[in-house]
Amino acid sequence: MTQASPGDGLTAERPRRSIRSLLQSTEVDTRLLGMILALAIIWVGFNIMSGGLFLTSRNLWNLSVQSSSIAIMATGMVLIIVSRNIDLSVGSLLGFLGYTMAMVQVVWFPTNPLTWLIALVVGVFLGAIIGGFQGFIIAYGKVPAFIVTLGGFLVWRGLLFEYALGQTLAPMDPTFQLLGGGPTGSLGESYSWIVGILACLGIIYSLISGRRRRRGYGFPLRPRWAEVTIGVLGCGAALGAVWVANNYFWPVELAKSYAQTHNIVEPPGGLQIPTGIAFPVLIVLVVGLVMSFIATRRRFGRYVFAIGGNPEAAELGGINTRRTIVSTYVLMGILCSISAAISTARLNAGVTSLGVQNELDVIAAAVIGGTSFSGGIGTVPGAILGAVVMQSLRSGMVLLRVDSPVQDIVVGCVLVAAVGLDTFLRRGNKR
């Protein structure tokens, strides 16, 4: 196992090696690239089978909103699984927090104009406290995470039923409803473009500043063409997504009533109002950025990964491992509350069954996104992509009118196949 000198491969392997080294020199995450490819195949496949329905602005826009709740929780689940723990309570916690936020709006402060804000603050605080409480038992009580969160899975749902008595609470505060998306809960055309352009500038800035920093230290640089390609593709993806969102116009009926209330004369063919990026999707983007930053650019994230790689080494390195674990659960609780707000707002009702089976979807999203159950490996963007893959399969099959039992079979197979393939490829790489 001394260093392999670059010349000792067989000549026959040359072309493959060069593709790999090409990818390596760009320092792009090949796993992420593979997932994007898999997603593209799924999308095109569904598009063909649905007769062109899948790759419409409307369906993609729907898909982005439908994935958001799971995607947000998956970003937190990555850190938890990376640190060799698990959280089975997220679905129940989501239900509990969502219902509590509904209680604030419908029962406790129905007339307060800031009821939506109170609901959010209560939800986030409660989420953080419950998450922290579970984390505390895991880290300081040394009770296995599986058991603690299995308990949480039962307790939070039970508590919810206990004080809800099965009753549905509706409707939500109008401002709160915006969190759930829908044409009114979206950015609209110009703001969406601004977000797209900001994303574009952000990508370019990070590429340039990263290059400058590396040059300053005299490290090897990425080839210039690779930097340009990444920049162009990144910008293209950001602006393309905005274009798709802006190409989904307000539903005819909504546009009609908008025209009526604003005294606009409808042009022939109806008013065309671009919807733009939905608020829940914007929240996913912000959460994704923040969580990525925390995972890769902050001490806390580094510690989480170190704990996952070797808990003893982390402890000997002087890391307060227990506090770190508690923090991952606090973060998870907060993310659950954000997802709960989105789901409740989207349904426009607090229901007791909110979040049923979500723990499975969240864990599956993280795992499909490349998070390893043996700990230490996982990325936030991967988890978000995993959530989109899961939701693409589900939504696509409903579009094809595949009933729920078959959906479960397909999703189950894909989950196992994705992880199996990943393990196989990783083993191949090692050799």
Partner: protein, 366 residues
Amino acid sequence: MFVRRMAAITAVVAIVAAGCSSSGTPAPAASVAASGGGTGAGSAAGCIVGVSWNNYQEERWAKWDEPAIKAALAAAGATYISTDAKSSAATQTTDIENLISQKAKVLIILAQDDSAIKSSVATATAANIPVIAYDRLIEDPKAFYVSFDNVEVGRMQARAVFKAVPKGNYVFIKGDKADANARFLKSGQDEIIKAAVDSKDIVNVGETNTDAWTPAKAQTEMEQFLTANNNKVDAVLSENDGMAGGVVAALTAQGLQGKVAVSGQDGDAAALNRVALGTQTVDVWKDSRMLGKAAGEAAVQLCNGTTVDKISGASPFTTPGGNTVSSVLLKADPIDQTNLNDVLSAGWITKDVLCKGVTAGKVPGC
């Protein structure tokens, strides 16, 4: 070491115990509630009736059904004991054994799983303990079936929606695939619209089961059906109110609320409010109190040795499995904008909840 562990266990037990006692009414194992002194007939004094709930956590059982059963038993001086299987068929099997060992003379079972329960029912009937299948059918000819006529509920949903939309594109949002009621409801709906479907007046443009009757899943399904049909959907036959809520949320996002006919059942407060607002066409209301009363009275009669076919009001019912069971099937009440007063006068819902956001005087009752 040992002492510390014991202390920890004691603490856990204490916490669990505290949790249980605070959780109130349904003690998990089997709570014996000696129902008030045998004032009336006293005919069933000493009769213990065991009730096995499949999932007590749902609103209606605790709020409406249980008090009605208790009241009916108390009136005859019988004793009420109960268990909660928490949605587990296996737990329910043990629960029933527990009830029998507590000397229950009659069992009332709300089955979690209509086939898994069969062996427990056979054990009970073999020991001469009559069984009442409560709300959900049990395929056993010896069991007495007390329920709302779910096929009829399906018919009522379809009748109301069909009346509003005799022609057009229909979407079917069905309940959980493992629940027999989901099938009964669908068969009732099919009876009403079959002719129109055959004559192509009604087109089925989307049909799916919804795991665990989840509203959020129903919402996603509805969004996809709207996308698939470019919003050309005229009516939605949703099998219950929770899912109807998800459907209406999906319709609202497209500005179609109130323009598409939607059905439901259960008499949920939010759903009745939607009926008043006009975003839901019909809500089939089943007064659970009547069901509880019927079951309680049947239990008392069984205790006194009445055979299942001699119970007052009983009639034979042919099950989908080909069995003939003795049954009492109650009629439900379809609530639409014309008869909102029914739920108000029955004390099922208060006017401010029912009429929230409704312009006063717009619909009768508000």
